[in-house]
């Protein structure tokens, strides 16, 4: 096995192990919160997913800029795949959030600044994915890159929504640091690491899929060329 394949295998095993370890930590290491009870453990999925959604959209932002600057197709691929995975994690946030909210706040949804901006963010990147399917190939890259840049404006707004407006959404990172108990901090860090690895695993797989599609196009083009050459 080449070193590249060994590295890939280690990465995949690490992802799997981290997820398993995170699961253990969530249920058997972290204490049960006194006011919210067991439901609070949704926090360990909800928070890392939110950050990873932001990360995904940030990667789309940077890749879009690089695509416009360098015109290399690979940046377009990176932007598009990262947006897809960002949407996946944003969906997870928007599903786990209300599930957590129902027993705690007694409503599935409120038009709170944090919730609203996150929903808008989700819509923006869904629109991004739909834009790609609606325009023709030659302009797909340019248009989605511009949209990827414009859409990112919403990410800082979503993140800072709790600080800018009054919100009932709990604040995690305060000026005194992250104010939860230490075993919870450890569990959060571990789950965050596990989801991070998962994010990059999904990203790599998705990009590989796109590369395979490009390979197919290349082979098809070669065969076409070959047929033409033979006919002449």
């Amino acid at each position: 096995m080449t070193s590249k394949r060994i590295f890939k295998l280690i990465f995949e095993l690490a992802t799997f192990a981290a997820m398993l370890a995170a699961l253990y930590a969530i249920f058997l290491y972290a204490p049960v919160e006194k006011t919210m009870g067991l439901v609070q453990k949704i926090f360990y999925i909800h928070v890392p997913s939110a950050f990873l959604a932001f990360l995904g959209f940030f990667i789309t932002f940077i890749a879009s800029i690089l695509y416009l600057y360098k015109r290399d197709h690979k940046w377009d691929v990176a932007a598009f795949c990262s947006a897809e995975i960002g949407v996946i994690f944003c969906t997870i946030v928007l599903i786990t959030g209300p599930i957590w909210a129902k027993p705690i706040w007694n409503v599935w949804w409120t038009w709170d600044p944090r919730l609203t901006t996150t929903l808008i963010l989700w819509f923006i990147y869904i629109s991004y994915l739909m834009l790609r399917r609606s325009v023709k190939e030659s302009q797909q890259g340019n248009f989605s890159a511009v949209f990827g840049i414009i859409g990112f404006v919403n990410v800082p707004i979503t993140f800072l929504a709790i600080r800018l407006w009054r919100s009932i959404h709990p604040v995690l990172i305060t000026s005194r640091g992250i104010n939860i108990s230490t075993p919870m901090k450890h569990t959060l860090a571990l789950t965050f690491l596990a989801f991070c690895l998962l994010f990059f695993y999904l990203l790599k797989s998705r990009i590989k899929l796109e590369k395979m599609k490009m390979e197919i196009e290349m082979f098809s083009a070669l065969i076409e060329e070959n047929i033409h050459y033979q006919k002449n």
Binding site: F123, F147, I150, G151
Partner: protein, 173 residues
């Protein structure tokens, strides 16, 4: 409820102007001619945006007149702050709408794509405008509206800056 209804009417007028903004160009193939002019893409953007802005402002004036009559509201004492908010909000919406009108004019489902693209991005502008309008109509002074005005101005500047940086790429064929 009144500011919300007002702004829904404004948004629809703006969308009408926007879909026509680049739609006509693509249909008649005059976009190439436009690009051949010795002007930068930014100037094309400004021209298109101002066109949409003027169209929308005219529609908004009519809409405000109709609403004043239908809802029996006297808007004269609020004319200046209201005008300012409406102008800033329409400016932001037109800016972002012009960019997306250029993008969506190439596809077949032109208006659908335009709406899908414009609405999520322009939500902060719309919310700020509606809130500011509501505060003004409830009798607040410019001071109370200041926070929302800041947001409006910030977004207008951000959208204009983004248009300046990226419109050239949209204009490429």
């Amino acid at each position: 409820m009144f500011p919300g209804i007002l702004w829904v009417a404004f948004i629809f007028s703006a969308l009408l102007g926007l879909s026509r903004s680049f739609g006509v160009e693509r249909d008649r193939g005059t976009l190439l001619g436009l690009l051949l002019c010795p002007v930068s893409p930014w100037e094309i953007f400004l021209a298109k945006m101002i066109g949409t802005l003027i169209f929308t402002v005219i529609m908004e004036i009519f809409t405000i007149l109709v609403f004043t009559i239908l809802y029996n509201q006297n808007l004269l004492p609020f004319l200046l702050p209201l005008g300012l908010v409406v102008l800033l909000g329409t400016l932001g919406f037109s800016a972002i709408g012009t960019i997306f009108s250029a993008m969506s004019s190439t596809s077949k489902a032109r208006d659908v794509i335009l709406s899908i693209l414009v609405f999520p991005i322009s939500v902060p502008v719309i919310i700020a405008s509606v809130k500011a309008t509501g505060l003004i109509l409830d009798g607040g002074s410019i001071q109370t509206v200041y926070a929302w005005l800041k947001i409006l101005v910030a977004f207008d500047l951000v959208f204009l800056l983004l248009a300046f940086l990226t419109f050239g790429y949209i204009m490429e064929e």
